[in-house]
């Protein structure tokens, strides 16, 4: 199992702030493509991925128990 955290516009499009799903043997890119298929209206392509609170590149391999977050372009400050 992995947790996928959603924020801002992505969260609002999907209507949830967290999805729990089977997984833990795919890359971030594979997860991203699956989510884009499941939720075609949500702007995943604009979001950076973070695993366990650190930004990761798209070829990062997710392990079971990981918390993946999709980070839309930030606008703090």
């Amino acid at each position: 199992m992995i947790k996928v955290l959603l924020f801002a516009a992505v969260r609002e499009f999907i209507g949830k702030d967290m999805i729990e799903m089977e997984g833990g043997s795919q890359t971030v890119l594979q997860l991203r493509e699956q989510l884009e298929k499941d939720y075609p209206e949500a702007p995943f392509s604009h979001a950076m991925a973070a695993v366990n609170e650190s930004f990761v590149p798209d070829d990062y391999e997710i392990k079971p128990g990981d918390t993946v977050a999709f980070i839309p372009p930030v606008s703090g400050g």
Binding site: E12, M48, A50, E53, I71, P72, P73, V74, S75, G77
Partner: protein, 155 residues
Amino acid sequence: MKNFLLTENPISAEEVIQKVARREAGAVTVFIGTVRELTNGKRTLYLEYEAYKPMAEKMLEKIGEEVKEKWPEAEAAITHRTGKLDISDTAVVIAVSSPHRKTAYEANEYAIERIKEIVPIWKKEFWEDGSKWIGDQRETAAYPDGRPPEGMLDQ
């Protein structure tokens, strides 16, 4: 007393300033980001800031480490607010102390630029005629290369 944190309560600039006070400091610079009413003629009613809190605090700490690396004599503290903010409310306070003022200005400006790059906080603007998530503060395309901006991945 943590130097890098998120809060849902009003921020006291004085409190953030006190965190960097020390006998070696000759200069403290402070940046206070406030909610302004007009942006390109459009009237803001209020804002909401959402954050991925644990990661946002980690990224603020990372900015503090970057500051220390670039300006070893500088000491930084940052508090960012989340939740609903009204016009003139303080969204963020950055305080930097240093023996010398040039360093204090440079490190402070660096910190606000980095906040706008790597800290997972999102602003939703509520205008008279609707609302929108702001995702393009730096007025560049979002991750135009499909890669995070420089420095995002070097943990």
